[in-house]
Every structure is written in C-alpha cells, then in structure tokens.
Symmetry: C2
Amino acid sequence: MLIALDAMGGDFAPEEPCHGAVLACSKNPRLNIALIGDKNKIEPFLEEVDSSIRSRLRIVHADDVINTEDSPSLSIRRKKNSSLVVGFEMVRSGEADGIVSAGSTGAIAAGGVLLLSRIPGIDRPGFGATLPVLNRPTLLMDVGATVRCKPINLYQFAHMGSIYMKLFQGVEKPSVRLLCNGEEVTKGDDVITAAREMIETSDLNYQGYVEGSDLPKGVADVVICDGFSGNILIKFGEGLGELLKDQFKEEYANHLLPKIGMLFMWPAMKRVLGRFDWEKAGGSPLLGVNGTVIKVHGRSKRNPISFALLGAANFIDKNGVERIREEIAKENINDNI
Amino acid sequence: MLIALDAMGGDFAPEEPCHGAVLACSKNPRLNIALIGDKNKIEPFLEEVDSSIRSRLRIVHADDVINTEDSPSLSIRRKKNSSLVVGFEMVRSGEADGIVSAGSTGAIAAGGVLLLSRIPGIDRPGFGATLPVLNRPTLLMDVGATVRCKPINLYQFAHMGSIYMKLFQGVEKPSVRLLCNGEEVTKGDDVITAAREMIETSDLNYQGYVEGSDLPKGVADVVICDGFSGNILIKFGEGLGELLKDQFKEEYANHLLPKIGMLFMWPAMKRVLGRFDWEKAGGSPLLGVNGTVIKVHGRSKRNPISFALLGAANFIDKNGVERIREEIAKENINDNI
C-alpha cells in the first residue's frame, strides 16, 4: 500500500510530516509512503532513519506549495507542480492508494472535487471529524469542505456520515442529528428546516436537532452541520483545551501547592484529558470523492500526522471509497426528494 | 429603580428567579424588583424573606407562560398575559426601567423588537455575551437574536458592540473582529465578505477575521457573528466545561489519589476556573431596542440570575440605551454604505 503524504503542508512542514511518516511506517509494516515536496528540504530529515523503514519511504519532488492564502480552486488548477496537486495526481493515476495533507483545508477539498471528482449522487463533499466525546465517538460533518450548504448537501452528508460510522465504528443503525441553535423544530433557518424534512422522510435513524451544549455528551453517532459551523466549533474546542492546559501549566510553574497536588492528580488528569485527545482521531476523511483523502490539522506535529496516515491505511484496507459509492448507488438517496 | 423579572422563565422557575431577586436586592440597595408570573407559585418562595428586602419585591400576576417550543413572534403577539409580555409592557409604559428573563431567547428578541421597537438606524437587534476569556473580556455578538444575518446586520452589531465596550469596559477604541473559518480574506461566505468591506471602510477599529481557536485567547474586544454561530459556540463552550467538571468529579469520587491531590490543587483549580466563570458575566444585553433587556441562560440558578439583575441595574444607571441611541444617531453609521 502506498500513501501520498503532502510533506509541505502544515505549520511544521516538512520536518513533522517526515517524522510522522517514519512513525506510521514503524507501526504498520505494510505501509509505504511517498513524501511529496522539496527534495532538498525533505532529505535531511530522513538521513538518520533506520534502513528497514527508509526503504518504504520515497521522495517525490515537487517545487511548488499551495498556501492557505491561495484561492483553493485556482491554486489546484494552476499550481500543477505543488506538493498537493502532485499527490492528488498520484491518487488519480492509481499510483498511490490515498493522500494525507496538513495543508489548506479549502485546497484539499477543491483538489478532491477537481482532480478525483465526486462520487455519483453526491453534489458536494464533506470533511468528517471524529470528536472524542463522552461514551462514544461522534462524527461531526462537515468541518470545512462546503462552507455554506444547501439542504441537499446536508442530506447527503447525513447519508455518508451514517455509512462511515457503520463501516468504521461498527454502529448498526447510526443515530443522526442536525446541529441547531435549539432543540425545537421552530429553531434553525430555512436550510436546516428543509434538510430536516428530507432526512426525516428518509430511512436514516434521525433523532432530532442537537444543541452545542449537548454535543460533548456523545448524544449521537453523526452530527450534521455546514462547513462554517463545524469549523468554528472544532477550532473553538481546541482553543479552549489549549487555554485550559496553559493556565494549569502556569499555576503549576508559579505555585508550590499545585506542584504537590499534581503528583497525586496526574493519573486522573491523564485519564480525563486522554478521553478528549483529538490527536488520536486519525485525521478528517473527505467523504464524497473518488479517492482516500485525509486532512489533518495544520498545527499537527508528528503524532497526529502518523495517526492520520494509519487512519488512511485503515480506510484503504476497508475499501472506504468503494463502500460509500456502492451504498449511495444502492440506496438511490436522491430518488424521493 | 424597578426591574421587571420574568419569574416564569428558565428551567428552574419560579424558585431560582425568586431567590435571584432576593440576592440581587441584598447587593444593590437601590434595586426594586417586580416578580412577574403566577402569584400562587411565587409567593411561597418569598415567605421567609427578610422584611427590608421583601418590601422591595412586588409580585405582578400573569397567568400565562411563553415556552421555548412556542413561535417567538406569534407568542409575543398572542400571549398577552404571559409573564414575558407583561414584563415588556411594564418597560414600554415606563413603569419598569428594564427587564430580565431566563426564558426563550427567540421570544425575548421578538418582544424587544415588537413591544419596545428598534433604535432608529438599527435593522435587527443582537444579544451580546461577555466571554470570560484570557486577558480581557470579549463581547461576542450576536448569540441568538438574529439567527441568520445580512451584511448590514453584522455591520450594525459591530457599531453597537463597540459602543457597549467603550461604555461598560472603558475601552477607548475597542478592537473589532469578524468570526470566520480562517484568518485569510478568502475565507468566509458572501455575507461575511460584504460585512468585512463595510466595517473596513468605517471608522471602527477593525482587526481582521478571528478563528474559533483564537477566540478564547482574548484577541479582540468585540467579535461579530450571526446568531446561529454565536449560539452554537457559547453553548458548546458551556457543554465542554460541564463535561470536564463532571469528569473530574467522577475521578475524585472513585479514586483516592485525586482526593489527596485535590486538597493541594484546589486553590489553583479555583483560580483557573474562576477566570472562565460565565455566571458572573451578568447576562446578555439585547442591543438595538428601546429598552434595557437582559437575557440570562435558561439553566441559570439564583447566582447568574442575580448577576443579570445587577448587570441590568448597571446598564440602566449608565443610560445604556440612550447612549447607544445617541451614538448611532451621531455617527450616521448607515450613511456611507
């Protein structure tokens, strides 16, 4: 299995993607990784790598990079020699089995649509993020591929999210909820109302609206929203987590009592914080395109990148793309709307 | 000063609003409160109250209640004898100086517009929520009055939010940011782009887009968004906070080490969590209507309700409504757009 890794994407590229590739290879012996980017910048990070792993890493040179400031679809069309476009072309040609990138969210979504094309029956793709919430994993979708949605987009996300949770979490009949500003059907806007009506009359296991406050409680297998809402929500959660961690660190550094307390609290702290560890979630799959595409947070270091690579390998092993394509075709989800 | 308190609004009505009123009166000796709602249900909670405070509380009977399931504008028009409408009528007639409610967010916004009317120059009102973030208070607006916005609404929120922070936090030239799914100007949607262009060409101290992850860091005095985004965001923050607290409580209950650790950690915990205490924020003012209207969270118990009442008293003392009206008229904010 060969996975294309955009070695130039993210805040710590190419160093952390390179280390992430090594880590992933050490955990999955069937994994081969193509590191795509500036050969001269990548090579130094592979010099010390053990030969058994080095032999499964190859460098594919690409001298351009798509930045977060670039227009997503324009840069996908024009920057033919960027690490991201070269990676997508490897997936399109069948040379690579999937692609992982910590680069621009918009460009990854645009690359998926423009270079791999959408699955028949799907109008827009969506990124699914597995939230580390209480009791069970919850897939939040979309978290940034389709910023503003039509009702049909949310409806299709609900189907793809359900298939994904059935396939990857073994949930027989995944419960689906729509993110809303209240639980009552009078809440939301025209788009959410129309999407709710479509989902209600489908054979999905729809369970109503969910408010932001209930989201961390693990009240559904799949929570659907537009890419704007999903994006601000997961980023806000990350920001709060980081802030809290910083605050405790500061207390720990400046006061004696917390230092002693922490010795006793540490196992509990580790247990609690471990339950909310987004780094282990394995990246966000772009669902709805003809190829395995996993996005990982731009601020990711080696660990989350390695988990995303392992997540991509799992997606490929389970024929994720093919299974979603089959289910969407079989269910004719757009027939009765 | 007389403040109308919707004694039937919120999850713990009428008990907690009644206790909240007593608390607020004990802290502000100039405060008089009209408890509006079912006389028979309210009276039992005032029986034990000290006479010096009891004399400043009066019960105004109203036998109907607006529920969160009711359509906001329909119920404001039809439920003439609901606690909320009776309270708004007291403000409209000048009998009360302001109103506080833990009831339906939509109905409070609709009541403000329909019964008190909008301030000239303002198309839609917005709820401002003071976030207890790092370094400085940040006003997030709107958090639920105008679910989906036109650019002009966001533009006007930016002006009202700035005036509010100047008036109540003493910030000379409040910095304003727009909540977005990225920092680059290519992010957002058509509404956000148009609002940005309007704000950029105004004399507001505009500082760019802000992502969800930076919001907890106190990067701006005023952060503008539509009511849907603001609502899901603050509720998600609350939900995460509650979950974290529950998790630590569970650890504390089931393990010995955290029990010992907590003894040492407690002062630090209190310092850290005290910095994020939304209960002390004093409720969310509805800015843009002709009257002092403060919404407090539906799940509020006596403490946050008392802080909202004290916040309303402060707003009235500083002539908040009059000052916003003056500034909006003076600046002719809609002239050059």
